[in-house]
Symmetry: C2
Subunit: 373 residues, 2 copies
């Protein structure tokens, strides 16, 4: 007799069968995506945007995850659960009571997987990434899953850097391992300054930390218990409840979750735990972090302008111009601007200041115009 | 028995009584206003825009005209007649079969006035002007009407220049006349270069040509007959028809009008005819010719930013930002830009290049996106 699907904070869009595969893609889709305002809104954050592609970032992540792992779990916020269910058909939607950063989210996902499958191996995958070469990505993911199944390691995918990027963390490579293509990680490095980033790019010993990692679910739960005890303790209580009282587990999660430390998995676990290894990835990866990243993803014309929808540039170069279907944005005589029309809002910001979209969000909040957020 | 209203190309929203006053305001409202795209559209040109005021430019012109002259005639295109009738209640709407510049439009208006009132005095008033000091404007207009009633002159209103403007034509002052406040115009001067404009501003002998003038209707018809015979001949035929066959006059207008020379009243008549005088006007006048003119009309904040609607500027100066009601435009880290959201379109252009909006219009046309014009 198959186990009944468990519900509570969990919305199972597809019950797991007893013979479910060991590999699980855990897609983190709880972000707010403020830096992609006005396309990204509170009610429809960036992972639900297509950004010129035929599918949303989340739909693409789910599609790739299902292909690579068989089972997909999407961790998201209650306000996004319906949208996520639409974008991730056939996936388990795990709803967090409140966002508490990645350590808690991954831990919660891990104990839910363990409740069903003590041998579960998970791959954590952010929802807001661009993958240019999907076969290359599948190969790297398969190697990483295999590494996690063979040994008690956490296997990351380190992205071969293509520029001296100061906006990402880096992995410093250590010794090779017995498995082909898998290398020890000597240490995690915080976002570097420009000089250091250039040295990393030239040296070949550093890879971008793309936020993807693979391990047994038990391993990450044990690491959290040891390294972030406040989270580990709460997870242990919730896991205990999950084993015999699903409704109670939901209530317990709602009660305990808000008090959990909002710490990232990198700071909480990855930088401190032994046995972290990496697979080098070179598959046209990019973080879709701000409007400045869009040209790398969608390409630009001969004058360096990137237009999504009926965006038109006259006498200008290096602009990113986006208009909803049925609308137009025309830029005359300007260069290196981001101009985005989405719904009821328009943003204009220099491309070099794309991170400062948060200032727009702050100012709208200050003026009581939060209806546009 | 009152005369029946005449119809045809004329849409009389209010029949003229036999004792109609002699003074008529003739408001020219046939322009396309391309340089105020995207607020100004083919179906709703700039004279129908409020631009931050509580009434459209045309409604304001009609209100002032009715106060100054008693009778108002609005000359416009068929495509704008309904909008004009809404904005100009109580006015006569005179529809041109096609736009043929101001000489033809004013001549057509004049013969229609003469058909009803051989002694009609008219004041020609563009629909797209901003008047900051309306009592000052009324005083100047009253003086100009009085000058036109006393003598066979064409009395302009010359605007006291407030900057070395190179975008306007100028009137060079001549000798005083017998009427206080009325001066002969020595000559009309084309748009000057910057050096010349600065000399005009310093010299005090030149006024801006604001396109307002006052004369007997008979005078301008006679001048057109003498100086632009192709127009004069057509007007004579139409006037003859108007006297006995209104429907025939309408058909004749439709037949003759397209072949008329598209010449401005300035080039066709004012620069050549004797007896042109002027009243000096200093009443916060500005031509609403492009987005660059908007701050002078609506004012700017302490950082030089002009926002209409929920336009927001963060960390920038000297911007003109406009959003429709219920929409927002946020500009972060940019200065001296015009950013206008109107309906389904957004324009971004440096303020110093506001004239280049025509390039946007050209490019949309080239791309087959005329639906946005």
């Amino acid at each position: 007799m198959p186990r009944a699907p468990r519900v509570g904070h969990l919305v199972f869009t597809r019950p797991l069968a007893d013979d479910s595969p060991v590999r699980h893609a855990v897609i983190l889709a709880g972000g707010s995506g403020t830096r992609l305002w006005p396309a990204s809104r509170r009610a429809r954050p960036k992972q639900f945007l297509a950004l010129g592609a035929g599918e949303s970032l989340l739909a693409a992540a789910v599609r790739r995850g299902a292909h690579a792992a068989g089972q997909v779990m999407v961790v998201t916020a209650a306000s996004q659960a319906t949208l996520a269910a639409v974008e991730a058909p056939g996936s388990t939607i795990l709803v967090e009571p409140i966002g508490r950063n990645t350590a808690a989210a991954i831990g919660l996902a891990a104990i839910h997987l363990l409740a069903r499958d003590p041998d579960a191996v998970l791959g954590v995958l952010p929802a807001d990434q661009h993958i240019g070469d999907e076969p290359g990505w599948y190969a790297a993911v398969a190697t990483a899953f295999a590494a996690a199944e063979r040994a008690d390691v956490i296997c990351t995918i380190g992205i071969a850097p293509t520029r001296a990027e100061t906006g990402f963390g880096y992995l410093e490579l250590g010794a090779p391992t017995a498995q082909a293509g898998v290398t020890e990680v000597a240490r995690f490095v915080e976002k570097p300054d420009a000089t250091t980033a250039a040295a990393y790019l030239a040296g070949g010993r550093h890879l971008w930390n793309g936020g993807m990692f693979f391990c047994r679910a038990r391993r990450i739960v044990d690491d959290l218990a040891r390294l972030v005890p406040a989270i580990g303790l709460a997870l242990a209580q919730i896991a205990d409840a999950l084993a015999h009282d699903v409704a109670g587990a939901a209530a317990l999660t709602a009660a305990l979750y808000p008090a959990l430390p909002a710490i990232s998995i990198d700071h909480g676990v990855m930088e401190k735990t032994p046995g972290v290894v990496t697979v080098r990835g070179d598959f046209g990866w990019d973080d879709v972090g701000s409007w400045a990243a869009v040209p790398a993803i969608t390409g630009a014309d001969a004058r360096g302008n990137t237009a999504l929808g009926d965006g038109v540039v006259v006498d200008g170069t290096g602009n990113v111009v986006m208009a909803d279907p049925g609308r137009t944005v025309v830029v005359v005589g300007c260069s290196d601007l981001v101009v985005v029309q989405s719904g009821d809002a328009v943003l204009v910001v220099p491309r070099a200041r794309a991170q400062d979209v948060r200032l727009a969000v702050d100012e709208l909040t200050r003026r009581g115009l939060e209806r546009f957020l």
